[in-house]
Symmetry: D2
């Protein structure tokens, strides 16, 4: 039985990790850390877990905590883990980090986009970027897992095979992505009140969203060269879901079948990536609550572009269930243990 702790357990991603670990046959949750709710019953805050998790939230003491568990999940703000983690702590237990702290290999890029100093850059080389389907072999061996962002997971997995195969022009990718509101977190901000968000849509973080360099770095690895993408996120009134619509210039004419074969080559054996049938467009409701990514595409012969579409649940494959998937790989469990929920409709 693996012992796990969660820091940042009262945010949406942290709470979802707790719910998933509860279902995991080989994990015992030892403690749930929350600064703001320390001393309160977890089940009183997340009443979906009423009678299921009967524990108090505890305040943070990362050194002590690392002693008693095998793995720590950190669903914490940017900067927390890179400011706390040491080589010594990594000797004691493994970390699955939901923040961006160890996602970007280039420290200067991190420091520029996140506007803060990185306090443990020496650990970056050990960190593995946890896009499971892409980096599975490295994930098996790491002690420090940098779990990808929600927009990034969706954007990258949708374009990855075509980028890797140089089928689309390197700098032509225009990514317009839609996100449900849970991506904005559980903090009490007026901008995320029901009445501020409901019945409306907007773009935000235009030209400046922090998932941009993460997408660019990873797709650059796939392509084999540095590249840029034009990434524009939008907020739409739903709880969960990411939909990425990616427009790219095809390097040359391709038939549906040719593109399809490439996707199948990469993803046919991936349980959690479903390439849809011809002419089907992914919808976020069909992946909600699950670890699935649904992908579709359409070639536009008029313009020479290909439109790629990917959908996932931002709190699952975009956060918590991918974290557990990576944890499963790191600890040698069946990759789908605890995260085999089937989306429900409606």
């Amino acid at each position: 039985m693996i012992k796990a702790g969660i820091i940042g357990s009262t945010g949406y991603a942290g709470a979802e990790i707790a719910r998933l670990l509860l279902k995991h046959r080989d994990v015992e949750i030892k403690w749930l850390v929350s600064r703001s709710f320390a001393g309160q019953n977890y089940e009183d805050i997340f009443r979906n877990l009423f009678e299921l998790i009967e524990k108090e939230c505890t305040d943070i003491n990362i050194a002590d905590m690392a002693e008693g568990v095998d793995v720590i999940f950190t669903a914490t703000p940017q900067g927390f883990l890179q400011g706390s983690l040491t080589a010594g702590l990594l000797e004691k237990c493994r970390f699955v980090d939901m923040s961006a702290d160890y996602r970007i290999k280039d420290v200067s890029v991190y420091e520029k986009w996140y506007g803060m100093e990185h306090h443990s850059p020496e650990l970056l080389s050990e960190a593995v970027y946890g896009l499971t389907e892409v980096n599975r072999e490295q994930i098996k061996k790491t002690r420090l897992l940098a779990n990808p962002g929600c927009f990034t997971t969706c954007s990258i997995l949708t374009a990855y095979p075509l980028m890797k195969e140089h089928m689309i022009e390197k700098d032509s990718l225009v990514i317009n992505a839609l996100s449900g509101v849970s991506g904005a977190g559980r903090g009490a901000k007026a901008a995320n009140l029901f009445c501020e968000v409901n019945e409306s849509a907007k773009a935000y973080g235009v030209t400046s969203h922090r998932h941009t360099p993460e997408i660019e770095e990873q797709l650059g690895y796939s392509y084999g060269e540095k590249l840029t993408v034009q990434f524009t996120p939008h907020l739409v009134p739903m709880n969960r879901g990411i939909l990425a619509t990616e427009t790219a210039k095809l390097c040359k004419e391709h038939s549906y079948e040719e593109v399809r074969q490439v996707y199948d080559r990469y993803y046919k054996n991936e349980r959690f990536i479903r390439v849809l049938k011809k002419d089907m467009c992914p919808e976020t409701r069909f992946v909600e609550g699950s670890n699935y990514v649904d992908i579709g595409f359409k070639i536009d012969e008029r313009t020479g572009n290909i439109i790629l579409m990917g959908a996932l649940d931002n709190l699952e494959k975009g956060a918590a269930s991918q974290a557990v998937q990576n944890f499963n790989v790191m600890f040698g469990f069946d990759e789908s243990e605890g995260i085999d929920d089937i989306p429900m409709v409606p």
Copy 2:
């Protein structure tokens, strides 16, 4: 391995039964019947199940079908099963019926409220009303299970202990219930279009909703006498959920603890009924996607009334998961097999 068939598999309740049975370790789905979608791939209609159920919908032939399976779930319109079922069919396989056809013991009441003739009244005595927590022992032995309605399950379980113990005045119950839109089904009706329902609330079926006699009959059994309730359902803009708020006159003054003890006596050992802590009001989001019923109550000393509140998911405990719960009891499986999903937030 139990073989199961589902008639009416492309409605919301039927599809939810399919999804739950897919997770059930002892069930194999043999066929999925849908008149409207016969010949189409089930995964093309319910793309949440893409790559998970690879079967075509079939047209209906109940006699042949009963030969090849152990149980048939009918998620069909009122009148279908009572017009098709025979003693002979019941010899071949067991039925779990989601419609009202065998819920009401008094044929004249059925015929009056549903405006149709009952064609198999001789089977009514064998039918068991599938409120699992109330009728568990009879359910074990039946071949014909009448699965309760969504409003009724919520309304009855919330009031049952107090009614049974004669703590509230017999005819004083005023039930105001809210329902999500999935309760209205998946038929193409203009009244259920997004833009007709979103951002609005209304009462409907006032004084005439068909769940009224079902609530009255069952609560009458609990009380030991016939009784009436004032039941007013409302439609609110959410996919799933029933919230029943029940106002009743207390027969005499009671403390919180006295009422609490009664609830605990009935429900403490029930896995799927959660009586909340003092002053907590149930919220539908905390039971969504699960078989739970959450119950709370509040005594008003000013008025001598008690306010009871119950919440469930209309497609789960109000339909599909309770059907599987009953199926589990009928066939001797662990009662929670296939229906142990934990609600997720948000």
Copy 3:
């Protein structure tokens, strides 16, 4: 041209008053007070009013302000106005107060339900409760208008004629009301985040909601005796709207026509109260954005109860547009000036 100021102009009700006054032919908005947003452009906060109101929010200085305007609208928290208002200020300008400070005539009831001392009880006798259709004559003459709450306006107007005519039993009224989320205000509370409220329904303030004594006091005036009601509010996921479903015991049997005649007698000439046709149930979407109250009712011969239903927009007839309606009456303008918006569907 009447000069008006708004204190609390950056809450939902305050902003709605601003929007309505902007359309009013005889009003000029002199200043918009907001402590939290002082110094910011109003159009930057409420971008629906971009290019329409080009003013900065100012900090509060009620004495100076009263000098320069004819009327002050206060959309402020409970306690603000009763702690600031004096007979001297009332000499300078008239007040339309959206809070509960002067709604309840019995100071002890106010102090008990609101948990605060009342600092200007001497002004209570002058205050008029601004249910326009009920108290129009008194409103014409007052300098201090206590604008009713949203639940109360809906609950009272729906039951008023039958209560006044003693057609329903005095203490039998069970009011279950639904509210959109804007009723909870624009403050940054986690409980009102989109993801905490969306896709869920709950009762709240059960047995303790502060609109209870207001409803009881006013309906008691109508009936001619003190009475109690059982009032249970609910939160449902929509921006705007109040729906009140009121169950009452009829004193004796009545036909539809008899009850209808009573409603017509009271409301036929009221522009903003629409008694619907037989069997029509009000829906909040049909009054959204307008000053209308839609009312329907249904007699249940089985139980001897009558079900009354009323719908209004909590920010309009339940707050801002009724405030402007009262202002129009106070200053002798056409009662519908500035508030004649027609609800739009969807």
Copy 4:
């Protein structure tokens, strides 16, 4: 007093025209045509208009109808008007058509994208494309107004000044647009049920949406050459609203101020086009219920792209209120008569 008739008055756009004309000081609605609802009271269908429009829906007889009115608004399916209209009818009254029948000057393009024959191509030369701010002078003189589509109005007005000034590369425009559900109409289609649309997002009509040739034709006129755009529409769960996010390659480096000056030159005096302040992104809620288009933009120096964003209400500036705006221009009324509603928040 202008006499007007509406054909297709029970769809969302038709009903919105009725509501707007009701507020118009110089218009009298003579008849409301609806095949499906002929003989029914209009106020029973659109109960927002209860007591405000007391007319029965009539069946269609376009020849007779044209005799008695000055203008006919057709909110009808594609193909209706081009199959009914004749030069003779145009002698009798003027037409404002909401369909695409006369929007596209090139008949072969119309026939290809709409899959139907055009029966009155001889009238195309007389038809004026009703983008008011672009074609105002021609609109003044026309008898046949082709009112633009919702996506097209938003997409074109957002890009128009930069396209006209050749500031962006001709074929580089990637338009990703989001639409509320009312754009799908009021027909009883299962795909538009609340539970099929709520809590989900999807792209649709990818590479094949019929607004594509309309955008291309009009932007081609602006640019002075034929061009192509990559247009991908999405459905998001809200009643109303279009948000267009347009990514284009700048022909050369431009500062914010340079681009801003161009927008100001074209739109500064346009009442209904609001170019937002620097760094502000339009949100659909801030234009809902109004004739406004809100526009913002952001230059990305990293990529050399400019991101343009436009928001409007698909039923207003994207349909009904623009139709009335065009009607006002055609008949010489103040352009804002009847359509000066201010968006309300929330």
